[in-house]
Amino acid sequence: MLCDDCGRREAVVHIVQIGPEGRKEKNLCEKCAAGYGEFMPEAQPKRNMSVDDFLKGMFRQPGEQEEKHRQEGEPLVLTCPNCGMSYADFQQTGKIGCSVCYGTFRRQLEPLLRRIHGTSTHSGKIPRRSGGTLELKQEIKRLRGELKEKVAQEEYEEAARLRDEVRALEQKLSAKEGGEAHV
């Protein structure tokens, strides 16, 4: 069935208008139907709204970071040098192109990750090969956090122990990094 108004597109919305002249039925396409004002229902979303759909919506809201970019006049058209994905592509699909994209779009993604996960820092399993010295670094970071806490709680003995531990690890780290540099 074609649209009663434009007669070109397939009619997908069927409305009944009851006015002073009586009852009037109309079959409209989506475009013409939109002209009938706010009471028109939106096109029905799919029954199962997937996480992807939800994400797409979230990504489209400009983050604070993005606003800042705009004010500073930096170009917004970022594309990933590895796979050629632009941030706009990502906003449309909700999917990321390749592992390099995470580096390319880091500034845009981080606020988003905090919104989804409440954090943007990983603290779990680390691949031994590509993780590099991260295991040590994370441990040091964790201990430093603990150290700060202990100082705040005025538990100085415990704090001193942690400080020594951090120092030992830092030495290990610099030795490792130095060693790698020599190779």
Binding site: K95, L113, R128
Partner: protein, 355 residues
């Protein structure tokens, strides 16, 4: 293990019903998402890149089977019929995402049926480990072991701050999805399932019905999964899920006890009627089978009845699936009547434990 064996195998080792909290928890699952460095994720990769991923993963299979002491069989999605692909989904060995574009998509299955590696799904690699009943530690350990072998030979995409890089940002960090399938007739009939559904998101978990949505939730089967993947270690995420599941299990048992106490006659009647229908019906629909099966399982758990084959639950669950039946009959064009007939026949066999 040939393709046909995988397709027609009637027994799912991860649904055996034995194990901790087996009266409520059917199975536990751990999934890890991993990607290779540099190569675009499957949704953006071209055929040559997808092939590159597949070849690289296939190369590590020998070391995997050595490390885990189990043989792997590769099922290439392109070589399967759409029906066979659907059977894999019904058996929880593959996901719909793997089937949409079958090119260079593959499932590597361990012989024991408890490990499946999905190649070029949403991510380059999804490591899935299953385990019967309530046991998340074994699959997690297994998944870690597989991951360790893989990362010792392939460069995995990882960022110091963001963790494992995945195609969808909701999996970022650990790339871990741990889930547990529960049978909750007690909570459904005492109408308490709603409160579990409301509480779950507050604990960073999601709960959804395994078959069908909302009111039509078939067979009182629910799956609980972790929602967050970042900021916590894998163990912490799994612990969180475990403690929530323990709580749900306790509530379910309480509800069952209450049912058995206050409605004993009615309950017994329902349970035996369900058994009678499963045992003698000549036509069974998918939905009806699930509902009846749920009653029978409840009856067995409450010791209201004994059944010839106490392990039959998983088997009946499988033969209730339409695609599995079609594949079993090697006929894609069965009428609904024929399918229902075959289903009833298979259910009878499974119930009595006969091949």
């Amino acid at each position: 293990m040939s393709k046909d064996e995988v397709m027609k195998e009637r027994h799912l080792s991860w649904l055996s019903g034995e194990g901790q909290d087996g009266d409520v928890v059917l199975m536990s699952r751990v999934r890890l998402a991993r990607n290779l460095k540099q190569l675009p994720f499957p949704s953006r990769a071209d055929f040559s890149q997808l092939l590159a991923v597949r070849t690289q993963v296939e190369q590590i299979v020998p070391s995997l089977s050595q490390g885990l002491e189990v043989e792997f069989a590769g099922l290439n999605m392109e070589e399967l019929t759409p029906l066979e692909r659907s059977v894999l989904i019904e058996k929880q060995l593959a996901t719909p995402a793997l089937m949409k574009n079958p090119q260079h998509r593959e499932v590597l299955l361990a012989e024991d049926g408890q490990v499946s590696l999905m190649v070029n799904e949403d991510d380059h690699l999804r490591i899935q480990c299953l385990s019967p009943a309530f046991d998340l530690d074994t699959p997690l350990k297994k998944a870690f072991a597989i991951d360790d072998i893989i990362e010792s030979q392939l460069d995995i995409a990882f960022d110091e701050k963001m963790g494992y890089l995945t195609a969808v940002p909701t999996n970022l960090g650990t790339g871990l999805r741990a889930s547990v399938v529960l049978h909750l007739p007690g909570l459904v009939f005492t109408k308490n399932i709603g409160s579990v559904e409301t509480i779950a998101p507050q604990l960073g978990l999601s709960i959804h019905s395994l078959y069908g949505e909302g009111q039509e939730a078939g067979g009182c089967l629910y799956e609980i999964t972790n929602q967050l993947t970042m900021g916590f270690s894998e163990q912490a995420l799994v612990e969180n899920l475990k403690s929530a599941v323990r709580e749900v299990v306790a509530h379910e048992r309480k509800a069952r006890k209450a049912l058995a106490l206050y409605m004993k006659d009615r309950l017994e009647d329902e349970v035996w009627r369900a058994y009678g229908t499963l045992r003698y019906a000549r036509l069974l629909t998918e939905k009806e089978t699930l509902e009846l099966l749920s009653w029978v399982r409840l009856g067995m758990n409450l010791r209201l009845m004994e059944v010839g084959n106490p392990d039959c639950f998983g088997d009946i669950l499988l033969v209730s699936r339409t695609h599995f039946l079609q594949n079993l009959a090697e006929n894609e064009n069965m009428s609904k009547n024929e399918i229902d007939r075959l289903r009833a026949e298979q259910v009878r066999k499974a119930l009595l434990g006969k091949e």
